[in-house]
């Protein structure tokens, strides 16, 4: 399988703080990669490299290469960044729907990308709400505010919103950390479904979750990538002592 995403010796500084210390990693197409590690080790920072979200933070310095389909996404023109973000969907840690209707939340990405064909938008909204396993619950209240949904429903709405613009990569930053077990289960099922069509990177604190949903796992520690391998290998026979310590719960 070809590599969808790749980073080569990426360093990231937040001002003086060295948050990523030379990360080299290749992520295969149509796979789910879990990023694990104690909090503050740079998982979110690494994830946000791929849609250039770190650019928004002042005093941030990035060196190295971040490749998507072989092209360095930090070499593109700044006017193309919007387009890059359209192909890389993101689901955040806390559900963050807009203060708009359920329908308009999903339609937002289409509208800002210049699509105004209403029947297309309607189809796309229904399709992605179905994909996110939310359609049956909201089909009668699409005009209602997204804030009326439960936390789990809001997170699935955010997933639908990310899917609506048909990205090829989906970044998920602890998407289930604020949810109850049932909602978490639904989101995990969803990730399983989406794997065929998308390349997914998911940051998680939850070892079981990483084990259940991912094909590959990367273990981060203090800004370093300690180990990256098939999930099965990481969880049964890690090659680094730190990884084993973390997985067996001896720290972190």
């Amino acid at each position: 399988m070809a590599n969808k995403l790749e980073t080569i010796d990426v360093h990231l500084h937040y001002g003086e703080f060295h948050a990523l210390k030379g990360i080299s990693l290749a992520i295969p197409d149509h796979s789910v990669t879990a990023l694990i590690g104690p909090s503050g080790c740079g998982k979110s920072t690494y994830l946000r490299l791929f849609n250039r979200m770190n650019d928004l933070i002042p005093y941030t310095k990035i060196t190295g290469q971040v490749l998507m389909d072989g092209e360095d996404i930090y070499k593109i023109k700044s006017s193309k960044i919007d387009h890059l973000r359209r192909t890389v969907g993101m689901v955040f840690q806390k559900p963050n729907p807009f203060p708009k209707s359920i329908f308009e939340n999903v339609a937002y990405g289409l509208r800002v990308n210049g699509i105004s064909d209403n029947s297309f938008i309607e189809n796309q909204v229904e399709k992605t709400l179905r994909q996110a396993a939310l359609w049956e619950e909201v089909k009668d209240k699409l005009k209602k505010s997204a804030f009326e949904l439960s936390g789990g429903q809001q997170q699935r709405l955010c997933i639908a919103r990310a899917l609506a613009i048909e990205p090829t990569v989906i970044l998920m930053d602890e998407p289930a950390s604020a949810l109850d077990p049932i909602s978490t289960g639904k989101i995990e099922d969803l990730i399983f479904e989406l794997k065929d069509q998308y390349t997914i990177i998911i940051v998680t604190h939850n070892m079981q979750q990483a084990g259940r949903v991912s094909d590959y796992t990367g273990f981060f520690y203090l800004g370093n990538l300690i180990e990256f391998d098939k999930t099965k290998k990481i969880f049964t026979n890690p090659s680094k002592q730190e990884t084993e310590n973390y997985i067996t719960g001896r720290f972190g």
Binding site: N51, M53, L56, P58, F92, P97, F98, Y108, A162
Partner: protein, 378 residues
């Protein structure tokens, strides 16, 4: 520990006393303002100690302040125009002797001190002058508070002047303020923001007389030469100066509102491929809409209540109807300009208090609006 237990109730009661007494003082001010203002209504527009007399045979029984002024200005010269017989009006301002003057002239109208005439008149009788009412105060279009024999106290030109100047001030200030606050909150980088924000907040603290002076030296000549006017002291100059004064408030309040838009909301938008401008337009500004509205209303409040700068640059003439390129007179400027020359406790003095009441009511309404808008936010 023991001392704490002892001092805490003392501090508590001290704070309570301060709270109650400041509330009481505020209440006292309002009561005082309205007491003076309200006693204005129901009084006669003729100067105290004087009476208007007509010949005993004259069928006209009452006159309004406006009619008296027209007679005085010789716009009305015949009793027929006032509902009387067809005879010319002989107006006499302070005749030597009221009776001898009246006797010979059936069409006479005289302004004369009342005390000297009590019960000693043969042919002259006092004519009733319409009292000042709230309705007349609000609808009369002339403001001549010191004119004799009868004062005209119509608040309309002042009220319209105030609203005109404030309205255009906000039309100028709101787009500029919004643009500046968006720049500060969303676009300017941290270093620039750290310098600009305190500078703008500082501008809000500059005394208005300084703005007035700036207006007089810079804006007034500019307006005059741009529109080729005989005088530069116009409503427009006032609007521009008040807009400049309202800007710091509008900028800081709406910038604060814009910054309350959660980062997560903006990131969600950007992550969906929206540009920075789309994100500002579709997410940040709508999220801060009620705060921006509050900023606008506060700005209007500042413009409406502003005295000094308005006094200095608007030209202060109560032209009706007020227009942008002519001098106007605002309510606060009127109070400031005339209070010094109005005799204490007199009619003019009370009229200025009534203006104060009106201004108070307007700003109260504006503050209630702000409350409602910002309550909706939560």
């Amino acid at each position: 520990m023991r001392i704490r237990r002892f001092t805490e109730p003392i501090f508590e009661s001290l704070i309570k006393i301060c709270g109650y007494s400041s509330g009481f003082v505020v209440l006292l001010i309002i009561v005082f303002l309205f007491k003076e203002g309200i006693s204005f209504f129901g009084s006669s527009p003729v100067e105290e100690g004087f009476t208007m007399y007509v010949h005993a045979s004259n069928p006209v029984k009452d006159l309004s302040a406006a009619q008296i002024k027209d007679v005085f200005d010789q716009k009305i010269t015949n009793w027929k125009a006032l509902g009387g017989a067809d005879q010319p009006i002989d107006f006499e301002f302070l005749p030597k002797c009221i009776d001898s003057y009246m006797d010979s002239l059936p069409g006479s109208l005289a302004f004369f001190p009342s005390a000297q005439t009590d019960g000693k008149l043969k042919s002259a009788i006092p004519i009733k002058i319409d009292k000042i009412t709230v309705g007349k105060f609000l609808s009369d279009t002339e403001w001549f508070p010191t004119s004799r024999p009868a004062a005209r106290m119509g608040v309309m030109p002042l009220l319209l002047g105030t609203l005109l100047v404030s309205f255009f001030a906000i039309i100028i200030a709101l787009p500029l303020g919004l643009a500046a606050s968006i720049y500060l909150a969303e676009i300017a980088d941290e270093r620039i923001r750290k310098i600009l924000k305190p500078v703008i907040e500082l501008l809000a603290g500059i005394p208005s007389v300084v703005y007035g002076f700036f207006g007089l030296v810079v804006i007034v000549p500019l307006v005059q030469s741009t529109f080729n006017l005989p005088v530069g002291e116009t409503a427009l100059a006032g609007s521009i100066v008040l807009a400049i004064m309202a800007l710091p408030t509008i900028i800081t309040v709406s910038e604060d509102a814009l910054r309350t838009t959660p980062r997560a909301m903006k990131e969600a938008s950007l992550a969906l491929g929206a540009s920075q401008w789309q994100t500002i337009r579709l997410v940040t500004v709508p999220y801060a809409a009620s705060g921006i509205t509050a900023a606008a209303i506060l700005g209007i409040g500042r413009a409406i209540g502003e005295t000094m700068a308005a006094l200095m640059v608007t030209g202060n003439s109560a032209i009706m109807p007020p227009t942008l390129l002519q001098p106007v007179r605002t309510i606060p400027a009127t109070i400031a300009a005339e209070l010094g020359e109005a005799p204490f406790g007199g009619l003019h003095f009370q009229a200025l208090f009534a203006l104060g009441c009106l201004l108070f009511i307007i700003t109260l309404i504006i503050n209630l609006l702000v409350e409602r808008v910002s309550a909706k936010r939560n």
